[in-house]
C-alpha cells in the first residue's frame, strides 16, 4: 500500500513542554491506523498539527507526496483531510441536516454563491441525508443540533466527516463519553467504514482500538515509541512498560 500521510520529525512545544517531540509517522492508504498513548501524551496536539489548526515548530507533513506543512487548515481540508473533535464541535443552533450540508457544500471549492437558497439545492440535501443514513441519524435531520443527545452528537461528527469525502479522516476519540452500548455501535460502525477510507484514529477505548486497527502507533511524552500490528504492540515490552502496565 502506498503511503498517504507521512510525518517527519515533527516538533511542537508549549513553553517548556515538548508536546510533540520528533514524531515520525506513516499512514498507508486505506488502513485504519490507531494512535494510543496515556493522557497528556500529545495525541490531540498531533492531530491539530495534522489538520492545520496548530503550527508545528519544525518537521514536515506530506499528504500523498505534497508538502502541506505550511498550508492553513481550510486548504488542507480542501486537499482531503478532515477531522472530528474529541470535544463535540458542531454547529449547535443549526439543523442536523445543515451541519452535514455545509460539509457537502465545502467540496465545491468555495461558497460565494449568493442567490439561490441553500435548502432549495436538492443535491446538497440528498447527500446530507445519505451521510446521515450511514450513521443512522436520518430521522433527526430537521432537528436543532443542540437538541440531540451526546451519543447522537458523536454520530453526527462522523456523518460530517464522511460528507466531506475526505481521503484521510482524523478521528479524535470518537467514543469519548459514550456508554458501553453506544461504544459497541460506534465500533461496529467504524468497522464497516474500514477499507473505504484511510482513518487515523485516536482512542482510549482499548477494546475498540485492538478490534479496529490495522496498525497501532504508541505515543508517549510526544514520541512514538512503537508502531506495528495489534499483536506486535500487545507483545512489545516498551509499550507494556510505558503504557499497558506490567502484569
Amino acid at each position: 500500500m502506498p503511503t498517504l500521510l507521512k510525518v517527519i520529525d515533527l516538533k511542537k512545544s508549549f513553553g517548556g513542554v515538548n508536546a510533540t517531540d520528533g514524531v515520525n509517522l506513516e499512514v498507508l492508504e486505506g488502513e485504519l491506523h490507531a494512535i494510543i498513548g496515556p493522557n497528556g501524551a500529545g495525541k490531540t496536539t498531533l492531530i491539530s498539527q495534522l489538520c492545520g489548526s496548530i503550527k508545528p515548530d519544525s518537521g514536515t507533513i506530506t499528504l500523498a507526496g505534497n508538502n502541506i506543512t505550511s498550508k492553513p487548515a481550510h486548504k488542507r481540508a480542501a486537499l482531503g483531510i478532515t477531522r472530528s473533535f474529541q470535544i463535540t464541535s458542531l454547529l449547535m443552533s443549526m439543523s442536523v441536516a445543515d451541519n452535514v450540508a455545509l460539509a457537502v457544500q465545502a467540496r465545491q471549492g468555495h461558497s460565494f454563491k449568493f442567490f439561490k437558497a441553500a435548502n432549495k439545492i436538492d443535491h446538497l440535501r440528498q447527500e446530507a441525508i445519505a451521510a446521515l443514513k450511514e450513521v443512522g441519524l436520518e430521522n433527526r435531520a430537521d432537528d436543532v443540533t443542540s437538541a440531540l443527545s451526546h451519543g447522537e452528537h458523536r454520530q453526527l461528527e462522523i456523518a460530517v466527516a464522511l460528507a466531506t469525502n475526505a481521503t484521510l479522516m482524523l478521528l479524535d476519540e470518537p467514543m469519548a463519553g459514550l456508554g458501553p452500548e453506544e461504544s459497541k455501535t460506534m465500533t461496529a460502525y467504524l468497522k464497516g467504514l474500514k477499507g473505504s477510507r484511510t482513518i487515523l484514529l485516536i482512542e482510549h477505548d482499548m477494546d475498540a482500538v485492538f478490534a479496529l486497527a490495522d496498525r497501532i502507533s504508541v505515543l508517549v511524552y510526544g514520541k512514538i515509541i512503537a508502531t506495528g500490528t495489534p499483536e506486535e504492540i500487545r507483545s512489545n515490552a516498551d509499550v507494556k512498560h510505558a503504557y499497558l502496565g506490567e502484569e
Partner: protein, 330 residues
C-alpha cells in the same frame, strides 16, 4: 403557497403598516408623522444592514454609524461644490452619482477596515470597529471647509430620475422601497450557500474552517455588503435631513443602531425594522415628557436584554412550550 409562519405574519403586518400609515398621516395633514416615519425607515435600512453582521455573522460592529456619515457626506460634498464651486471633478447634484459614491466609498472603507477588524473578535472587534468610526468622525470634524463639527447644510437634494426628493411622499416611497429591497437582499444572502457558511462560522468557527472554508473571506464579504448598504442609507439620510454633521457618525449613533437590532431581534430580517420603530416611538414619546428620556429608555433596554433575550420578535414568536423555548435560546 406555504402558510405564513408567525414571523411571516408579523413581517407582513409591520411592512403593510409602514406602507399605509405614513401616507395617511400626510393626507390627514400630519406631516410631522410622515417625517418620523421617513427617519424610521432610513434607520431601519441601517439596522437591517447591521443585522447581517450582528445577527447572522456574529460580528458586533460598533462603528456602523461611520457608514451613515460617509453616505451622507457623499451627497453633501458634491452638492456643496456644485453650489459654491471648487473641486469640479466631484461636484454634482446627480442622485445616481451620489448613491454610487456613497455605496462605493462605504464598500471601500468596509473592505480596508474589515481586513484589520476581522482579525479580532468579540470585545476587541467592538473596540476596533468603534476606533475606525471615531477616526472618520474626527476626520470630518477637522474639515473646516465642510463646516467642521458645525456640519454642512445641503441646499439642493439629489436629483434622481422618477423621484423628486423634495416631495415628502416621494422621498418616503423611495426610502420604503429601499428598505424592502434591503430586507430582500439580506434574506437572499443569508439563505444562500454563502449565508450558511456565514452563520456556521458564527456558531463554531473552527468547525467551519476544518471543513475547508476560509471563514475570514466570507466574513469580509459580509462586512463589505453590510457597509455598502449602510452607506446607501446614509445617502438617504443626508437627503432627508438636508443637514449633515459629524455628530451623525458619533459612537453613540453606532450604539443606537446596535440597540435597534437587539431590541427588535437579531437574526431575523424584520427584527431591526421593529427595533427602529420602537426606538423612534420611544424617543418621541419619552422626550415629550422629559429631556432626560435616555434614563427610562435605558431601563427599558435593560429589561429587554434581561427578560426578552431574543428581542421583541423573539418574544412575540416564542413557542410557550418550555422545550422549544430552550432550543431557540441556545
Amino acid at each position: 403557497m406555504k402558510a405564513l409562519s408567525k414571523r411571516g405574519w408579523i413581517t407582513l403586518l409591520v411592512m403593510v403598516a409602514l406602507a399605509i400609515l405614513p401616507p395617511f398621516f400626510l393626507w390627514n395633514g400630519q406631516a410631522f408623522y410622515m417625517d418620523l416615519a421617513t427617519r424610521l425607515v432610513i434607520l431601519a435600512i441601517a439596522g437591517v444592514s447591521l443585522n447581517l453582521l450582528l445577527g447572522y455573522g456574529g460580528m458586533p460592529s460598533f462603528g456602523h454609524a461611520a457608514f451613515l456619515g460617509i453616505g451622507a457626506y457623499a451627497v453633501g460634498i458634491p452638492a456643496y461644490h456644485n453650489t459654491y464651486g471648487g473641486f469640479e471633478i466631484a461636484a454634482s447634484y446627480s442622485g445616481v452619482y451620489h448613491i454610487f459614491l456613497a455605496v462605493g466609498l462605504s464598500a471601500l472603507f468596509a473592505l480596508l477596515t474589515g481586513i484589520i477588524c476581522l482579525r479580532t473578535k468579540g470585545v476587541y472587534f467592538i473596540m476596533i470597529t468603534m476606533a475606525f468610526a471615531q477616526m472618520i468622525f474626527y476626520l470630518f470634524v477637522s474639515f473646516e471647509i465642510y463646516g467642521g463639527d458645525d456640519g454642512l447644510t445641503i441646499d439642493t437634494r439629489s436629483e434622481l430620475p422618477l423621484f423628486n426628493l423634495d416631495e415628502p411622499l416621494q422621498m418616503y416611497m423611495l426610502c420604503y422601497g429601499s428598505l424592502v429591497a434591503a430586507m430582500l437582499i439580506v434574506r437572499m444572502v443569508t439563505r444562500s450557500q454563502f449565508g450558511m457558511v456565514l452563520q456556521g462560522a458564527k456558531d463554531n468557527n473552527e468547525r467551519v474552517v476544518t471543513l475547508g472554508y476560509s471563514t475570514f473571506a466570507y466574513r469580509l464579504t459580509a462586512y463589505v455588503i453590510s457597509g455598502a448598504m449602510c452607506g446607501y442609507a446614509g445617502a438617504l439620510l443626508g437627503n432627508f435631513t438636508t443637514f449633515i454633521s459629524p455628530e451623525m457618525m458619533e459612537w453613540t449613533r453606532s450604539g443606537e443602531l446596535m440597540f435597534m437590532v437587539i431590541l427588535g431581534g437579531a437574526g431575523a430580517t424584520i427584527g431591526p425594522v421593529m427595533g427602529a420603530a420602537i426606538f423612534i416611538l420611544v424617543e418621541e414619546v419619552f422626550s415629550s415628557f422629559t429631556t432626560y428620556w435616555h434614563l427610562p429608555f435605558g431601563i427599558m433596554l435593560l429589561g429587554i436584554v434581561l427578560f426578552m433575550r431574543t428581542g421583541l420578535l423573539g418574544f412575540l414568536t416564542a413557542d410557550r412550550s418550555k422545550t422549544k423555548l430552550k432550543k431557540e435560546e441556545r
